[in-house]
């Protein structure tokens, strides 16, 4: 007596079948979508430069005037 093969989809319960097909569709979409853009390093470095300059310029001015005053001690 020949052994009757179970159709492949019977191995998967209906709920999991739906999930599997959804995952497969998502994987196809992701494969088709363009890769995420590389991080905009120029923008990031420009922001860092501007923002750090914004705080360091007045601080340097303050430090320079204090150093000028401190030099009086060595006159």
């Amino acid at each position: 007596m020949s052994k009757r093969k179970t159709p492949w989809h019977r191995h998967i319960p209906p709920k999991n079948l739906a999930a599997a097909s959804k995952n497969a569709a998502q994987a196809r979409r992701q494969a088709a979508a363009p890769p995420p853009p590389p991080p905009d390093l120029w923008r990031e470095w420009a922001l860092l430069f501007v923002f750090w300059s914004y705080v360091l310029i007045p601080l340097s001015w303050g430090v320079a005037s204090t150093v000028k005053k401190a030099l009086l001690l060595f006159k």
Binding site: L59, W61, G62, V63, V67, L72, L73
Partner: protein, 460 residues
């Protein structure tokens, strides 16, 4: 998930609106913190207005109806008291609403304090200066001081000391900007009929308000569960560094909180012993070898070391450990303080100056490393609120310290002690205070298990 109260209608200030995207560069956060601290650090330079405020009516010389220096001195003292009070009360609010809303209100209070004080000078009502710079400005100081610190600790879990040192260094640097800025503005606005203080207050209030707002809008919180790339908390933690969290109210029930309060208070009191009297101290102890002009240079040098020490010592604490760093402050500080009278008596003024510079660097370092010490002991979740409450130690020391030093000096001179020796007892008392601080630091232990929050209680 970070929850935000719905009761606040201006939603761009809300905590959930400032969560950074995943690849956000964390080095954009320190300038946001610095733009607030560089402004509020102006409080250390308020003394440049003291003398001009005593001749608002007389302009060239003080008129009989002009304010006395003793009345003007209360403006700064009130500012420091309200700094501590607002930090203590606003700290838990900061944890609830996030740093942007707190920094926004800090900008409104600090800028508004200047505007109200300007009206007070123009109408010659000192109560408006007390209310403006003292109360309102003091609230701005407290809220502005604590608001970026806990955010920095969350962004830099691997370099807690360096991160807080950067921000708090800004507070020291703020005085270096505030003093020449105030003098330059008064020079620009002064006329035959005005000392130019009211106009200077108006300009400074506007500048500081704008700069603090920039900081408020640039601040970002890390996404929940964020960690620096490639960093994992060490599995074998040092005993005094926790990865868990303690609630603000629970922290107040631990002896460790009060020990840290005492540590900050004693360190600040000892530092003020030199900082508040630096000019007179060096002139009198050098028996006139150092004149008023050189003494002003000495004060400038102290400010530089005060600022530099904030960054240097707090960064060093990342490697030495917080407890060891405070051991160095207290042991070395007590030794140097007790050496000062001998160095002055024997005429080693260069060594005297070097010793005071090291002491001042550790005074600044004590301020800068304390948030990281708190984060090590109580965790980072509520460190902003806990730090706020700890700052009442600063208010206490800021008011009591100078009173103690002045009283001791006058008592000694009143009992016939020579001016050059009048500081000797004060310096030995400061060394004793630091020895007490050493004992408090020695008593610091790991928290008891019962104080930590469970994982399901930590909401963000």
């Amino acid at each position: 998930m970070i929850q935000c109260p719905k009761a606040y209608p201006v939603d761009f200030l809300n905590k959930d609106r400032i969560i950074a995207p995943p690849a956000y560069n964390r080095w954009l956060i320190p300038p946001a913190a610095l733009s607030v601290h560089l402004c509020i650090g102006q409080v250390y330079a308020f003394s440049v207005f003291n003398e001009p405020l005593t001749r608002v009516l007389g302009v060239s010389a003080a008129a009989p109806e002009d304010w006395k220096l003793s009345s003007v001195g209360w403006i700064y003292s009130l500012g420091i008291v309200f700094l501590g009070l607002s930090a203590a009360l606003g700290g838990s609010w900061l944890e609830k609403v996030g740093p942007r809303r707190t920094m926004f209100w800090a900008a409104c209070c600090f800028g508004g304090g200047f505007f109200l004080s300007s009206v007070g000078v123009a109408t010659h009502q000192i109560a408006l200066l007390y209310l403006g710079y003292g109360v309102l400005g003091g609230c701005g100081l407290g809220l502005g001081y604590v608001s970026p610190v806990s955010t920095l600790l969350k962004w830099f879990p691997d370099r807690r000391g360096m991160a807080t040192g950067l921000a708090i260094m800004g507070f020291g640097g703020g005085a270096m900007i505030g003093a020449p800025l105030g003098v330059a503005l008064m020079d620009y606005f002064k006329t035959a009929a005005s000392v130019g203080v009211a106009q200077s207050f108006m300009v400074m209030g506007s500048l500081y308000f704008a700069s603090m707002l920039i900081g408020a809008f640039a601040i970002r919180l890390p996404p929940p569960g964020w960690k620096p790339d490639g960093w994992t908390p060490k599995v074998e933690q040092r005993r005094m560094v926790t990865q868990r969290h303690v609630h603000i109210d629970q922290a107040l029930k631990t002896p460790q909180f009060y020990l840290l309060w005492a540590i900050l208070c004693l360190n600040v009191t000892a530092g003020i012993g030199i900082l508040g009297q630096a000019s007179v101290l060096i002139q009198e102890m050098s028996l006139g070898k150092i004149g008023a002009e050189a003494a002003a240079g000495f004060v400038g040098l102290l400010s530089l070391f005060n600022m530099g020490g904030r960054f240097f010592w707090s960064t060093a604490s990342d490697y030495l450990g917080r407890k060891n760093t405070y051991f160095v402050y207290f042991a070395l500080g007590a030794f140097l303080y007790s050496m000062l009278p001998t160095l002055a008596r024997e005429g080693h003024m260069a060594l005297f100056i070097c010793a005071t510079l090291v002491i001042l660097s550790m005074y600044g370092g004590g301020f800068a490393a304390i948030p990281a010490y708190l984060a090590d002991v109580f965790g980072t979740r509520y460190v902003g609120g806990i730090h706020g409450r700890l700052l009442t130690a600063w208010s206490t020391a800021g008011v009591a310290g100078p009173v103690l030093v002045n009283y001791l000096r006058e008592y000694q001179i009143g009992h016939g002690v020579a001016k050059a020796d009048a500081y000797t007892a004060t310096l030995y008392i400061m060394a004793t205070l630091l020895a007490l601080g050493f004992a408090c630091n020695l008593s610091m232990r790991e928290l008891h298990e019962k104080h930590y929050m469970r994982h399901d209680e930590v909401d963000g």
